[in-house]
């Protein structure tokens, strides 16, 4: 590989870095613009839009609503997903491949179709649009990700540890609680954070299953349809900082625990 190709390749990488970062940086900057009109150049700066976000009760309650939905749906996804993973990874059984296929189905259905299917099914189940419906749809949609992460971790669990626990008097259930569950904790934490972010960022399911109260992405979408304003930038920036910080922390956490394991 010649030197010039290497330089050329690294230029491509840094151009890609620019492509993924510049739009977000510009969006953040625009939230500091002292004018109602979105557009460059920015001549004077202000913090008013951010102050406005934290003074607006509606926006703050939307934040709380989105976080509550994320936490509740993640709790369901993690319990169900771990349970499914234990069954799938446990032993061979008839229909295992079919069950695995059905398990990851919600992750493969394109967004709009998944939202529509949930909307129709919610009506069949008698779930009214609103928080319950969103929590349910997010929970089902996120289960496959938990299953995949937990299954990957389970497959590396040394069977000898379970056998040792059994030899020492633990029955299968206690062995599961005392050996398997602690071993799974890093995977479960990683999967939880991934689910939290998926739920917090989700638009299409929240949009079709929501009632009158919007989640944060739905609120931003609604505001965008009635016109761009630096206020939206300020809201979006707060959401961005929240998700990026949680995401980076999770990434570091999983890497650390993977190294230890």
């Amino acid at each position: 590989m010649t030197r010039s190709t290497r330089i050329f390749m690294s230029c491509i990488y840094w151009a890609f870095v620019l492509y993924v970062f510049v739009p977000l940086i510009l969006m953040v900057l625009m939230g500091f613009k002292d004018s109602k009109f979105i557009g460059f150049p920015i001549t004077s700066w202000t913090l008013d839009w951010y102050v406005g976000v934290f003074e607006d009760a509606e926006i703050l309650s939307t934040f709380g609503y989105s976080v509550a939905i994320a936490v509740l749906s993640t709790a369901i996804s993690v319990v169900v997903g771990t349970w499914i993973a234990v069954v799938l990874e446990g032993r061979k059984f008839w229909g295992r491949a079919a069950m695995f296929g059905m398990t990851i189905l919600p992750a493969l259905v394109p967004g709009i179709i998944s939202a529509i299917a949930f909307r129709i099914y919610a009506r069949a189940l008698g779930i009214e649009p609103g928080m319950g419906a969103i929590v349910w749809a997010h929970a089902v949609h996120n289960v496959p990700f938990v299953v995949l992460v937990v299954m990957a971790r389970l497959s590396t669990l040394p069977k000898s540890q379970i056998e040792a626990a059994r030899d020492l008097g633990a029955d299968p259930f206690v062995a599961f609680l005392r050996i398997t569950v602690p071993y799974l904790v890093p995977a479960i934490i990683g999967a939880s954070i991934f689910c939290l972010l998926l739920s917090f960022d989700d638009f299409v399911r929240s949009f079709f299953l929501g009632g009158y109260e919007p989640t944060l992405p739905v609120l931003i979408f609604a505001k965008l349809r009635s016109g761009m304003s630096p206020e939206i930038n300020a809201i979006a920036t707060v959401a961005l900082v929240l998700t990026a910080v949680v995401g980076v922390w999770a990434e570091r956490f999983t890497r650390r625990t993977n190294k230890e394991a």
């Binding site: 990488y13 890609f16 739009p23 977000l24 259905v109 998944s114 299917a117 289960v143 062995a175 979408f221």
Partner: protein
């Protein structure tokens, strides 16, 4: 079971404290409710497994498969939700409606074409990046440089779509830069075209292409390329005959993911696209904003879209498999 506990107690172990007395777990095993529960579950491994698997199987059938089956069922009816006193009849009309009007099938074919084109663009853009990371960067820096790229992808769909709107607007950064450089007099109307939509969708899906490509390229032994070079192959030949065939699997899974995701976007085309770029997701959504009797048509259209996406993905994977076999 009590024998087990006694044995456990003597051995300082999983269920006992250091002084040999049963701790929480030992007491739990010995407690009456727990033993009653275990007696109910029984000792047969098959019985235990069936009890363990019952709930997950039920969940997967009712929650994962259920919504799709219900959508399929509703798509063959003439009314949903059924009005009080009315009857629900079986019908193919919802599907026939799709072929009857170009206002329906135009967005459908547009969506599939766009998804294919955007997937290809994503592949072209991310392949060199993945290649550079996997082959040219030292393993120590590799993880950091990959992590750097992951950060923006933690940010949600709507926020990133909005970022693209700001970038490409008439008073956006790109137009400002071009004007400052003196390349244009009037702003170029990037927004509300298939270009702005493509920029947004590639932006949203790039990671799902990058990661499979990266792991495929990382697994590729360097020695293969060196052997090819020893045999006199030039850089382009080495890429075409060694690297590309060996990473077809990564390309295949990346493209499948990105294609499926691209067909499902709703908010991004609404915000970044214009009247001439209406995608099928918007058509489907339209049936759910109005009165309930349009739901079956929406369900039928969503079903058509789902099966079309599945068929294309399967066909694509078959072709990729054939290519892989043909090369080896």
């Amino acid at each position: 079971m009590s024998q087990d506990v006694a044995a456990a107690g003597r051995r300082r172990d999983a269920v006992s404290g250091s002084d040999g007395s049963p701790v929480f777990w030992g007491r739990l095993i010995a407690s009456a409710p727990y033993r009653a529960l275990m007696a109910l579950i029984g000792t047969s491994p098959t019985r235990q497994f069936v009890l363990l698997a019952a709930l997950p199987v039920l969940w997967v059938l009712t929650q994962h498969l259920g919504p799709m089956l219900q959508m399929l069922r509703v798509s063959f009816t003439d009314a949903y939700p059924v009005a009080v006193g009315a009857e629900q009849n079986f019908t193919f009309d919802n599907y026939l409606r799709f072929f009857g009007d170009s206002i329906f099938w135009m967005p459908f074919f547009r969506t599939l074409t766009f998804a294919a084109v955007f997937t290809f663009c994503t592949l072209i853009i991310t392949y060199p990046v993945a290649y550079f990371l996997a082959r040219h960067v030292s393993p120590k820096n590799r993880m950091l440089m990959l992590l750097l790229l992951l950060i923006p992808f933690w940010v949600g769909e709507i926020v990133r779509t909005y970022a693209i709107m700001i970038l490409l607007g008439n008073t956006g950064a790109v137009n400002l830069a071009l004007r400052t450089l003196g390349l244009i007099d009037r702003p170029i109307p990037f927004m509300y075209t298939s270009f702005s939509m493509g920029a947004g969708i590639v932006y949203l899906t790039a990671l799902y292409m990058l990661l499979p490509l990266y792991s495929a390229l990382e697994k590729l032994p360097k020695s293969l390329n060196e052997a090819a070079a020893d045999l006199g192959a030039g850089a382009w030949t080495r890429f075409r005959r060694v690297t590309l065939p060996m990473t077809l699997e990564g390309i295949s899974s990346g493209c499948t993911l990105v294609f499926l995701i691209s067909t499902g976007f709703y908010a991004t085309p609404v915000l970044l696209g214009g009247p001439s770029t209406t995608v099928f997701a918007e058509t489907i959504a339209g049936f759910f904003h109005v009165a309930g009797d349009e739901w079956p048509t929406g369900a039928a259209f969503a079903t058509i879209m789902f099966f079309a996406a599945l068929v294309i993905t399967f066909a694509f994977q078959r072709v990729m498999k054939a290519l892989r076999k043909g090369d080896s």
